[in-house]
């Protein structure tokens, strides 16, 4: 079974999701995990689907991109079967005045501690820059990571918080 990674990016308008999903459904492609948002007003969708050959999907999506306002890419990927849980889940939040390198500096701290970013959103609104990330951290390192993040945040002049994304099992 082919597993395909598809991205659709471009000028937003109502109906893009319906158009893309319809193309995939018609080809017998099963849409599995997907995410879509607007990034500074641009439509941005990333999805995984299984079924047809990459070339067939590319051809079928081509008319959507014909006016040059949307860019669709299709590539075959190897099913990875999902990664093992690697640690404890945390939510990182950073906000402050926009400047270069906030995401780079913060995520470097996480990586150096053996952490893994599993979800990330950043938004710039006016001069306010906001980063929210879901992070898996190895057991026992969160205090040290929080300390390092605080020091890096102070250098950048932004505020940071790291809190456990604890789940209530009901």
């Amino acid at each position: 079974m082919n597993e395909l990674a598809i991205t659709v990016i471009g000028r937003d308008r109502p109906g893009i999701v319906a158009d893309v999903a319809e193309v995939l459904a018609r080809l017998g492609a099963n849409l599995t995990d997907s995410t879509m948002t607007r990034l500074r007003g641009h439509f941005a969708m990333t999805l995984i689907c299984v079924g047809p050959a990459a070339a067939d999907v590319e051809a079928a999506l081509a008319p959507l991109a014909a006016d040059g306002r949307l860019l669709a890419t299709v590539r075959a990927v190897t099913p990875d079967g999902g990664s093992e849980p690697t640690g404890e889940p945390y939510v990182l939040a950073v906000h402050g005045a926009d400047r270069m390198g906030i995401v780079a500096a913060m995520t470097r701290v996480l990586t150096d501690a053996g952490g893994n970013v599993t979800d990330l959103s950043t938004r710039l609104t006016g001069s306010l820059y906001v980063v929210v990330a879901e992070v898996d951290l190895p057991p026992g390192v969160s205090d040290e990571v929080a300390g390092r993040l605080t020091r890096v945040a102070a250098e950048l002049g932004v505020g940071v918080s790291l809190r456990p994304a604890d789940t209530d099992l009901l």
Partner: protein, 187 residues
């Protein structure tokens, strides 16, 4: 915990059911029974008493489980068991109890929290729940009406189970399109 917190249940314990509970298999989504509103039950019927005992037994053998509703064992009915005893987030604790035909009659102080569910084992989601809650229902066996006043974690558990009885999963209440997550930590 003893004292007035138990008053709402009149000292009820699962032993009052008088039948041993059997552990039943827990079903997972997309099992249709989880999405179907359960009918009201006769809390005094032998069938409901047995179901109540089974829910308690199944809850007790499931690690980390603080509540279990009839649809989760494949039975469409308004019956659920709750026990948040010893949970670090619990404030008011009514011990182990089973309620039939339960209704939320007052809900306030809504708070967001991340929930997981035995019937949706691979996902969690951010859901707002009332942290002050008044629930009315009936005890299995006697059918006696009860009014439970609770808060915090027990309130969250009650709302989650009452939702199950109405055919709703936490997925029906997530805060937004980016508020569901792959579950990473297994209890």
């Amino acid at each position: 915990m003893t004292g007035p917190e138990y008053a709402g249940l009149g000292g009820w314990t699962p032993e009052k059911l008088g039948v041993p509970g059997a552990v039943r298999p827990v079903v997972t989504a997309p099992e249709p029974v989880l999405s179907r509103p359960g009918p009201e039950v006769d809390p005094t019927s032998a069938e409901v008493v047995r179901l109540a005992a089974d829910l308690v037994a199944t809850m007790r053998v499931s690690p980390g489980c603080v509540g279990l509703a009839a649809p989760q064992v494949g039975v469409s009915a308004q019956v659920f068991a709750v026990d948040v005893t010893g949970h670090p987030k619990a404030v008011t604790v009514h011990g182990t109890f089973v309620l039939c035909n339960a209704r939320v009659v007052e809900a306030s102080r809504w708070k967001a929290g991340r929930e997981g569910c035995m019937s949706v084992p691979d996902l969690t989601g951010d859901v707002k729940r009332a942290s002050r809650l008044v629930v009315e229902g009936a005890l299995p066996g006697s059918g006696e009406p009860v009014r439970l006043v609770t808060d915090g974690f027990e309130a969250r558990a009650l709302q989650h189970e009452i939702d199950h009885c109405a055919g709703l999963l936490f997925l029906d209440r997530v805060a937004g399109a980016h508020a569901i997550y792959q579950r990473k930590v297994y209890l």
